[in-house]
């Protein structure tokens, strides 16, 4: 795809923007999660898809067991170091566009178990996370809320231009290296391309 054609297309602003609207509308209303649960939060995730909360109302009850057909990975639960490579691999095997919701304290940061030697301190060390839901476990409504947050996020994504999301950018990676099991820890312990410890300014 040459740049010329692309700029030609972007000139046809209306076409692109309606296309963008359609694209975003389709994506945001048909987010199929990967059937994937890790720990306690998974139970709340299941509860969310059950009758009382009914994730299906948003068209998202199609929990696909195969990553090939899923759009959304809900990392629901503690990611242990033993499990982390598998999670990353599953993420890699999902087709673009794909989203990640880190559900619960454990998935975001290791949560209550972050002091453990086998617990990964946040899945965002290896894969990019779109929405974080704090809570332990987050209430099912919180997952629904996160889901709507994700929908809004999708809605705001541009089809072209600099600010276009990762999956529309040919240069941006869509798979990330899978960490290896080391003698003491995962190797590498985090992926600097995805995650870097933020600067922490703190007054004593």
């Amino acid at each position: 795809m040459d740049e010329g054609l692309r700029s030609e297309l972007s000139k046809q602003g209306i076409f692109t923007s309606t296309l963008e609207d359609l694209y975003n509308w389709g994506r945001q209303n048909s987010v199929w999660p990967l059937q994937f649960g890790l720990a306690c939060c998974a139970i709340e995730m299941i509860a969310t898809s059950m009758a009382r909360f009914d994730l299906a109302r948003f068209g998202a009850e199609v929990f696909r067991p195969s990553p090939r057909q899923a759009d959304l990975m809900i990392v629901a639960g503690t990611v242990t170091k033993k499990m982390a490579p598998q999670v990353v691999r599953l993420y890699n095997q999902m087709p673009e566009p794909k989203y990640v919701i880190a559900m619960g304290a454990c998935a975001i940061s290791g949560g209550p178990f972050k002091q453990g030697y086998n617990v990964l301190k946040g899945i965002d060390r290896f894969i990019p996370v779109d929405v974080h839901i704090p809570g332990c476990p987050p209430r099912p409504e919180a997952l629904l809320h996160a889901f709507m947050t994700l929908q809004q996020r999708i809605d705001g994504q541009r089809l072209t231009g600099k600010s276009r999301p990762r999956h529309l950018n040919a240069e941006a990676p869509s798979e990330f290296p899978v960490p290896q099991f080391g003698a003491k820890d995962l190797e590498p312990p985090f992926n600097p391309e995805v995650w870097q410890p933020p600067r922490l300014v703190r007054s004593e």
Partner: protein, 397 residues
């Protein structure tokens, strides 16, 4: 023939054809038949997916998709848009060519099976003398397509799923064909149109659907069981048995190819339901004479929707069988029953010539008796030496 509302599509087609230059009439006519079939059943697929999801939701005490568009009816469109824009992954180890061709091999045969289905009065695209045979023959093609999909993915689960699917489909194909043999015998034709016509008569206000005979009832149920196995529907959805082999032969399919497999499955379901309607439920005939005024295609599609609803209902209720039980059921129950049903149909036909009072009831009793006895006996033997059944439990204090 018939009222204009009933024939509106036929009339419309002819009217459109009248604009067509002479030499092109056949091809235009073909297109005018083909395109509506594809569009209508394609649309029905979209509608069914959402209805299924909503129906399952209701069975499960919830709403189901209800946010996208009015009542969530645009859900399939959104799904379609998403699938269309999804990345398409072909595993490295896969057999690229066959992986690509498999969805085509599924959609093609499944679609052309519709050409012999009469969806309304004068609304069969083709009237083949060996129409039913054509239908079955073409249906066999989908087995290979599924095998292609599963084998080419080179994934353990998908290969297992494909082998299961093929084994299942061949096992239930024989009962499927045999269960329609009684209808063919009594209708005396392999042409679906003729079979529907054969059910057009009526007595006491009730149409003479084949369903309203003892062999018809049995045949219908046997046919529908075989049909649900052929279409991989619960409780025979083992090829996709999520809890065992992830997504069966579709594990490695993503994006729209996956959607095509889905489409193929549903189209197969509609086709086989349509055939069931044609064979046993009087095709586009209404059940009662006084309802004949309702256009025929409404009847056909109404019956189709009703059957689809039953399938959804089943899907919401039943667990799935195990592979060995499935095969056992197919060969040790379905096949003997269908064979017996042929015999019963023959008896039913031959006993028509009997003449004594109460003959009608006697015939019914005889035929039903044979069928029921066989049913009980075969059902028992199916449970077999494992003594499957209700149990009593002890309690300790």
């Amino acid at each position: 023939m018939g009222n204009p509302v009933d024939q509106i599509f036929v009339i419309l087609k002819h009217w459109l054809l009248s604009f067509c230059p002479e030499g092109y009439v056949p091809i235009a006519s073909i297109l005018l038949s083909v395109i509506p079939i594809m569009a209508v059943f394609g649309g029905l697929f979209a509608l069914t997916t959402i209805l299924e999801r909503k129906g399952l939701g209701r069975i499960q005490n919830r709403y189901g998709p209800n946010r996208v568009g009015p009542c969530g009816l645009f859900q399939p469109i959104a799904d379609g848009v998403k699938m269309l824009t999804k990345e398409d992954i072909v595993p490295r180890a896969a057999d690229q060519v066959i992986h690509f061709l498999a969805p085509f091999a599924l959609i093609g045969p499944v679609y052309i099976a519709y050409s012999v289905l009469p969806v309304g009065r004068n609304m069969a695209a083709l009237d083949l003398d060996a129409g039913l045979l054509f239908f079955f023959a073409v249906g066999a093609g989908s087995e290979l397509a599924i095998f292609m999909g599963g084998w080419s993915s080179r994934n353990k689960y998908s290969l297992l799923g494909a082998m299961r699917a093929v084994a299942q489909m061949i096992s239930y194909e024989v009962p499927l064909i045999l269960s329609s043999v009684p209808v063919i015998m009594l209708a005396g034709s392999l042409s679906p149109t003729a079979i529907v016509d054969a059910q057009g008569g009526h007595s006491h206000g009730l149409m003479q659907w084949h369903l309203f005979t003892p062999w018809g009832i049995a045949g219908f149920f046997l046919f529908m069981i075989a049909a649900s196995a052929e279409a991989n529907r619960t409780p025979f959805d083992i090829p996709e048995g999520e809890s065992e082999i992830i997504a069966g032969y579709m594990v490695e399919y993503s994006g729209f190819k996956f959607a095509l497999f889905f489409l193929g499955e549903y189209l197969g379901l509609f086709a086989i339901c349509g055939l069931g309607i044609t064979l046993f439920l009087g095709g586009w005939h209404s059940p009662f004479v006084f309802l004949e005024w309702i256009p025929s295609y409404f009847w056909f599609f109404g019956k189709l929707m009703a059957m689809i609803f039953v399938f959804i209902w089943l899907r919401g209720t039943l667990p799935r069988l195990r592979m060995d039980q499935l095969m056992g059921f197919g060969w040790k129950f379905m096949l003997p029953m269908t064979l017996l049903n042929i015999l019963v149909a023959a008896i039913w036909h031959l006993s028509k010539t009997w003449l004594f009072p109460g003959v009608y009831l006697t015939r019914w009793a005889l035929c039903l008796g044979i069928l029921c006895a066989a049913y009980v006996w075969l059902g028992r033997s199916l449970a077999g030496n494992r003594s499957v059944g209700k149990r009593v439990y002890r309690f300790a204090d």
